[in-house]
């Protein structure tokens, strides 16, 4: 059976499974739609959270980012940042918001800061970071389709939009939760199987986490030492020690991803679906277990695939690879444009070096590392088909979670809570489905135009969540004195500073040539790159919020009561279901 047919079969089967689950578990009430009736088991919720969380960026791009763009050690910022955020979420945010018991993040901000303005600002911040994030997923769907199903990028994007639209709109949170559990199983299988094969081939150890620290099969040289040595020979920096920018930049980058993670609304709302506060805490732990399976495998894939690529480029006699002897996967991926070679000196060989003057592997896209991994390691076709299904599962599950966060913000927070309090439950449900449809179309459009936008978006989403929602939530839970004026001013200041810094570097909406203040040197703020700037935005948010709160009236008595309620010890056994709490 040809690879394309096999891929269609595997992907088609998984899609049928997702749609079947969505129909079987579709939402019938607003509570079903927003929080799956509050009845999801903590382990199941942990698995759904993991699928919700791990996006196309985690699945397709992360290993390549670590291995190629961030040259090994520098990529640790993603590994620590995207997992460490769960500690903040589990300790500081999730249990309290579950205790609060309402459906959405702006709900909490609106009530805690006793203000419709605060709620609307929170909705705007939420939509900004969720929409930028969902665009990245749509791009991932387009890329996966275009390589594996041989459609063009636009068609792939269209099919992805249709599938997401179908089951997210129909199923709401309840459908999404159970679909995400299936998607987690698909994506983790697809990610780990090639990794186990490659680890076995290279080191004889089936566990990639141990293989990465082992010696190469049939020798007593450690894999990482070998990689360091070869890369230095080719003129690259050492894999295991090279910093990304400076120590300060790495700290800021890690911190931004951590607090962004703890502030992303589509992750937070997952903790509204479990039955109790204790379940919310446990569920965060399970979510991180399921995430860690992929996140501790990724650095092994990164190093091993990099080693495989370097080995491919060098023949046994130590000469560079002859063009006529390049392997089949090379040509497959050249066709997609993710890989390009140019024989600059005309010797019929492809030299791979760090020097752009002589390097003849002129393009090696980050995404290749995971997508082409099974082909490079000469694994059977069904593994390649599985990787395609896994990449799509990662992108679809995250897109669905994001769309739900966006639609509930519009139908629940804007319509029901702010502008149309008399709206019926049925009308609210319809409004949330319409909002979701609009969000799918909007995200699809932005996945195509402007062209550079999709690539820059995922990191931006974290910066925005880190600088606006996380501080507002943290202060809302722990700082009694912070009031309405402070919270609103803080959110606006934090998100503006972050957006300005990013757009000033990369152009407004990532359109090149529109970057203003053009004469400033890159990373001018203490060498911190734009993707790492969220933490600076968050600090601005905290300072502005505390300063403004100091000079304006303290919050009214109800806020004191709300905080009293949030911090009240709760027995694990009896817990009011969400919505019934006060």
């Amino acid at each position: 059976m040809s690879l394309t047919v096999l891929t269609y079969l595997v992907v088609g089967f998984t899609f049928a499974l997702y749609i079947g689950i969505a129909i079987a578990t579709r939402a019938s009430s607003t509570k079903d739609f927003y929080v799956a009736d509050g009845g999801v088991h903590p382990v199941a919720n942990g698995m759904a959270t993991a699928a919700d969380w791990m996006s196309a960026a985690s699945f397709i791009s992360m290993a390549g980012l670590i291995a190629l763009s961030y040259n090994g050690y520098g990529g640790s910022v993603f590994l620590m940042g995207w997992t460490g955020g769960y500690v903040l979420l589990a300790l500081l945010i999730a249990p309290y918001l579950r205790k609060y018991g309402k459906y959405t993040v702006p709900d909490f901000i609106g009530e805690r800061y006793y203000s419709d303005t605060a709620r609307v600002v929170a909705v705007i911040c939420l939509i900004l970071c969720s929409v930028t994030y969902v665009i990245g997923q749509m791009k991932g769907v387009g890329v996966a389709f275009s390589r594996f199903l041989e459609t063009d990028y636009e068609t792939g994007l269209g099919i992805g939009m249709f599938i997401v639209f179908f089951y997210a709109v129909l199923g709401g949170m309840k459908g999404i939760t159970y679909t995400q559990i299936a998607q987690y199983v698909v994506l983790i299988t697809a990610y780990t199987i090639p990794a186990i094969f490659i680890s076995l081939q290279l080191t004889g150890n089936p566990l990639p986490q141990l293989g990465l620290g082992s010696t190469l099969a049939g020798s007593d040289v450690y894999l990482l030492d070998k990689l360091d040595m070869i890369l230095v020979d080719l003129g690259f920096q050492e894999y295991t020690t090279t910093l990304r920018g400076s120590t300060l930049n790495m700290m800021a980058f890690t911190a931004s991803l951590m607090i962004g993670t703890a502030g992303l609304p589509h992750v937070i709302i997952r903790f509204f679906t479990v039955p109790s506060v204790a379940a919310a805490r446990r569920s965060a732990g399970w979510a991180l277990v399921f995430i860690a399976i992929l996140y501790t495998t990724a650095p092994a894939i990164a190093a091993m695939a990099r080693l495989n690529i370097v080995d491919t480029m060098q023949q046994s006699d130590g000469q560079a690879l002859l063009i006529e002897e390049k392997p089949a996967w090379f040509e497959n991926w050249e066709q997609t444009g993710l890989l390009q070679v140019e024989d600059l000196n005309g010797d019929g060989r492809i030299e791979y070096t760090a020097d752009p003057e002589t390097n003849e592997l002129t393009k090696l896209d980050n995404d290749i590392l995971v997508l082409a991994n099974p082909e490079i390691a000469q694994l059977p076709n069904w593994v390649i088909a599985l990787v395609a299904a896994g990449g799509l599962a990662a992108a679809l599950s995250t897109a669905a979670g994001l769309l739900l966060a966006i639609s509930s913000a519009i139908s629940h927070d804007l319509l029901k809570s702010t502008y149309m309090p008399s709206i019926s439950e049925k009308a609210e449900l319809r409004a949330s489905r319409i909002a979701m449809a609009a969000a799918v179309l909007g995200a699809g459009y932005l996945g195509l135009n402007p062209p550079g936008f999709a690539a820059g978006t995922v990191a931006l989403a974290f910066g925005l969540a880190a600088s606006s929602l996380f501080p507002a939530l943290l202060m809302g839970i722990f700082a009694r004195r912070v009031n309405r004026e402070g919270a609103v001013a803080g959110m606006l200041a934090g998100i503006s500073v972050t957006l300005l810094y990013v757009f000033q570097h990369k152009g407004i909406m990532f359109i090149p040539g529109t970057s203003f203040l053009g004469d400033m040197s890159p990373n001018w703020f203490f060498g911190i790159e734009p993707n790492a700037f969220g933490v600076v935005g968050a600090i601005v948010n905290f300072i502005v919020a505390f300063a403004v709160s100091r000079v304006s009236a303290p919050p009214p008595g109800e806020v004191e009561e709300l905080l009293e309620f949030l911090h009240e010890p709760s027995s694990a056994a009896s817990q009011p279901p969400p919505g019934a709490a006060h």
Binding site: M80, S214, T247, A292, Y295, S571
Partner: protein, 93 residues
């Protein structure tokens, strides 16, 4: 009198939660920002199989410790809350 005791118990509970959070967050900071970034060079002198230790913390170890921290928090909190609720019942008698 009973009201005073209740407030005192509440405050003791809050203080315990605060100190638990603080201790766990210190570990969280030390294994990631500390071992993974600030102290990475000296730790890299030590080997863990083929791993340099600092590199291992940055790409593997910190993640395992994060998981342990969340489950530790979860189980200690459950105990603290149970103690508190038991205390409530006792004073209700």
């Amino acid at each position: 009198m009973a009201e005073d005791k209740k407030i005192e118990r509440r405050q003791r509970f809050a203080a315990r939660v605060r100190s638990l959070m603080l201790r766990l967050l210190v570990v969280w900071f030390v294994v990631s920002f500390g071992f993974g970034i600030l102290l990475v060079e000296p730790l890299n002198e030590i080997r863990l199989g083929g791993y340099k230790l600092g590199f291992w913390f940055a790409q593997q170890g910190s993640i395992f410790i994060f998981i342990a921290l969340i489950f530790a928090f979860s189980s200690v909190m459950t105990r603290l809350e149970r103690d508190y609720v038991d205390g409530e019942k006792e004073s209700g008698k």
